[in-house]
């Protein structure tokens, strides 16, 4: 018996060691309590985007517990890149800031598949929006191209320019399926959104620590924080009212908790976009009033409507502003102005309700990669191979670290870029797909954003909304 006890004791020790050696490294990567099978509180929350990540799921018994996350739409593990035939194609997009990283990735791809060549064609984003469609349609060699989420993707889809990627294994197994929605059109996956970015305000963690501020968690706290920050000599939000494209980013956060659910929000925006409703609608007016209350609480810079994008970035990068209400895509520009900002930024929830918020942030999936339907079969094969290569974890990691962008690709290690690492936990938070891009009529959206800019600039809410509602009506009639 004594002998048996000693053997059992040794076996117990060995088992304990084996279990702890397996479980501890995994559980250490989670915050306290986030263990497989343990109870959780918020349905849908995830701990990350790797194959070991967990999600808070409601079981058959109605209890919320941490379960192994299933982020892809297929059941298998991520697949390797497809082998291309020999030949050459062009890759068209607008992101000159990613040129060096993509050149490196393409060089690696070409070295791996000798005889296959990818030539990048990068256009300025304005030109790409304006003339990209016509140029790519006339050029079958442009076998891979990227589109913006929303109006541009829809334009290409409507023009029947993209092949269906729904049944590709890389579509089902290599990417976060929740990030694929912007690349779908009439039930088909016509493009793979590559970027997973956050259109949340970004805050200076050093200033918040120095001033001992805690992050506001509701609208009342937000207004109070704006006043406190202003009093302490900071510009609370470096909002660039003089540059609509970036000023409009804040609209995402303002819309985030403005409707009881996403379907209602979507229906409201579609109604505004198509003229079935006007911006004098009570819900829009309520949101416009919140802009005004924020302006009254000194949340925005002085002369906010004249502040350019460059000035807003400079304000934030030099520590004169505590928050820049654009998104993670601004981090690169901030670090270019002041490299010392590296590692000192994180995402800020702009909560504009005093009730329990449904969402704490905004994400967007864009830079949608598609295969040109007008290309030859061989070129399409190369294109699919190149996309599948971009959708492998190690390649996406090179892209992410090099461009400071999260991607929709599974099993990417963000530890090579401190700002990505600091914000990667946001991929696990309950964020809303940027609603600003639900507007497909750019002219209508511009007018509605101009109305909000005018209100921040001091124009009365009711009269401004009525004036712009009339302009929208005329635009839609034309």
């Amino acid at each position: 018996m004594k002998h048996m006890n000693a053997r059992a004791f040794k076996a117990l020790i060995a088992m304990s060691f084996a279990i702890s050696a397996t479980v501890v490294p995994i559980s250490q990567s989670f915050a306290a309590g986030e263990r497989l099978g343990a109870r959780c509180t918020t349905e849908g929350v995830m701990t990350g985007t790797s194959s070991t990540s967990l999600a808070c799921v409601k079981g058959a018994n109605g209890k919320l517990t941490w379960q192994r996350v299933k982020l892809s739409s297929g059941n298998g593990r991520p697949v390797a890149a497809l082998t291309p035939p020999k030949g050459s194609i062009e890759f068209w997009h607008w992101r000159n800031e990613d040129r060096a990283t993509l050149e490196r990735i393409i060089a690696n791809y070409e070295a791996r598949y000798p005889g296959t060549k990818i030539t990048m064609n990068i256009m300025p984003s304005g030109d790409y929006t304006a003339t990209g469609f016509a140029k790519i349609r006339a050029n079958p060699k442009a076998a891979v191209f990227a589109t913006f989420r929303g109006a541009q993707f829809n334009q290409f889809a409507k023009g029947d320019m993209m092949t269906d990627l729904s049944n590709e294994r890389f579509t089902r197994q290599n990417v976060i399926s929740g990030g694929m929605i912007p690349g779908q059109y009439e039930g088909k996956q016509l493009g793979i959104p590559y970027h997973y970015l956050f259109n949340n305000p970004v805050y200076n963690t050093e200033i918040f620590a120095k001033e001992k501020w805690s992050l506001p968690t509701n609208f009342t706290q937000l207004l109070a924080w704006c006043q406190a920050a202003k009093k302490a000599g900071y510009t609370p939000l470096a909002w660039s009212g003089g540059f609509r494209p970036n000023a409009g980013q804040m609209l995402n956060s303002m819309l985030m908790n403005s409707a009881p659910d996403y379907a209602t929000l979507e229906a409201r925006i579609v109604a505004l976009d198509t003229g079935k409703a006007e911006i004098t609608a009570p819900w829009f007016k309520e949101m416009a009033n919140k802009y005004k209350r924020m302006a009254d609480a000194n949340c925005f810079p002085d002369n906010a409507t004249g502040v350019t994008d460059a000035a807003a970035v400079a304000l934030f990068a030099t520590g004169k502003a505590a928050v820049i209400p654009t998104g993670t895509f601004t981090m690169g520009a901030v670090k270019a102005v002041n490299p010392a900002m590296t590692g000192k930024m994180n995402l800020f929830s702009l909560i504009t309700t005093d009730e329990k918020p449904q969402y704490v942030g905004i994400h967007n999936n864009t830079f949608i990669l598609s295969v040109n339907k007008n290309s030859t079969a061989t070129d399409q094969k190369i294109a699919r191979s190149f996309i599948s290569y971009l959708l492998t974890g190690p390649v996406a990691q090179v892209f992410s670290v090099g461009t400071s962008q999260h991607t929709t690709v599974l099993d990417v290690d963000y530890s090579g870029n401190v700002d990505l690492l600091n914000t990667s936990s946001w991929q696990a938070k309950k964020t809303l797909l940027a609603p600003r891009f639900l507007w497909l009529n750019q002219g209508v959206r511009d007018l509605q954003e101009d109305a909000l800019i005018a209100i921040v600039g001091g124009k009365p809410v009711d009269a401004t909304l009525e004036d712009f509602a009339k302009q929208v009506k005329q635009k839609l009639a034309g």
């Binding site: 929006t129 009212g241 494209p245 002369n303 409507t305 002219g443 800019i453 302009q471 005329q474 034309g478």
Partner: protein, 278 residues
């Protein structure tokens, strides 16, 4: 010789112009086949588009101010720097310098200068105690257009000055000598000799400046995108945004026809006024 020239002209100008005329009678998003709508785009422009009339007003104000100030300053600088002394040649080069810059660079420079909180212009006014002049230049509907007019005049005055200098140097010196003998002072010499003799050059400068101000797309697009509240939107920016931002190519084609008609009318008017003078 004239046939190839005509064919080239027809291919590069006539065909696109006629095509534009055709598109103006359609509703077209640039993707699906254009749908024929007759004169609906034109009637809509005339009866149900306040923005179009606002833009027309902006464009007329912009053109008038640019033509008056650009022509005035370029003539003034040309007269002051007419003699080919070393100092004058240096100053001519200096004034001409903005012309060789890219329009986007010029726009970026002025964006920084006009910044309401950190721009050099407002800092200057605040330093000398003229806070009332420190405006939200590009962020206010009342000042944005004038701020861009100033930038446009700064950008192109040097170019027009060179044209004036070339014209003024052709005026025979004997005319001035005769005027001096007759006891004419500097102002009388300008009024009776310089101005009448410079009228043909003025006609060229005004016509060129008018067309240039109608096409002041780059400065406006870079500095304000036509805002705030369309207060700096002119025909060229409106047409671009209608076509390439909203994908309403048919409507943009109709707007283009109005712009061309307006330029033709203004050029005709200018030539008519100036022709009576020389």
């Amino acid at each position: 010789m004239s046939v190839p020239a005509f064919l080239l002209y027809a291919f590069l100008y006539l065909y696109p112009a006629l095509n534009n005329l055709r598109f103006s009678t359609t509703r077209w998003d640039g993707i699906v086949e254009p749908e024929f709508v007759g004169l609906r785009n034109f009637s809509n422009l005339m009866t149900n588009d306040d923005l179009f009339f606002k833009v027309m007003g902006n464009n007329i104000r912009f053109t008038l101010l640019v033509v008056i100030f650009q022509t005035g300053f370029s003539l003034l600088f040309a007269i002051l720097l007419l003699k080919n002394s070393r100092g004058n040649v240096f100053l001519r080069t200096l004034y001409f310098f903005p012309t060789i810059l890219s329009s986007v660079s010029v726009a970026m420079i002025w964006l920084f200068l006009y910044d309401p909180n950190w721009g050099a212009i407002n800092i200057f006014f605040n330093k000398i105690g003229l806070e009332a002049f420190a405006l939200n230049w590009l962020g206010s509907e009342t000042s944005a257009l004038y701020a861009i007019v100033f930038s446009q005049v700064w950008f192109h005055t040097g170019q027009m000055m060179v044209i004036y200098i070339a014209g003024l140097q052709q005026i025979p010196a004997e005319l001035y000598e005769a005027a001096e003998v007759d006891g004419a002072n500097r102002w009388q010499q300008f009024r009776s000799v310089t101005w009448p003799m410079a009228l043909p050059t003025t006609a060229v400068v005004i016509a060129y400046t008018t067309i240039q101000s109608f096409r002041a797309f780059d400065l406006i697009y870079t500095m304000t995108l036509g805002g705030p509240n369309n207060s700096t939107n002119i025909f060229s920016t409106l047409i671009y945004l209608t076509a390439f931002n909203e994908f309403r190519f048919g409507y943009a084609a109709a707007q283009t026809i109005f712009m061309v008609l307006m330029i033709l009318f203004l050029t005709w008017l200018q030539r008519r006024i100036l022709r009576t003078k020389y």
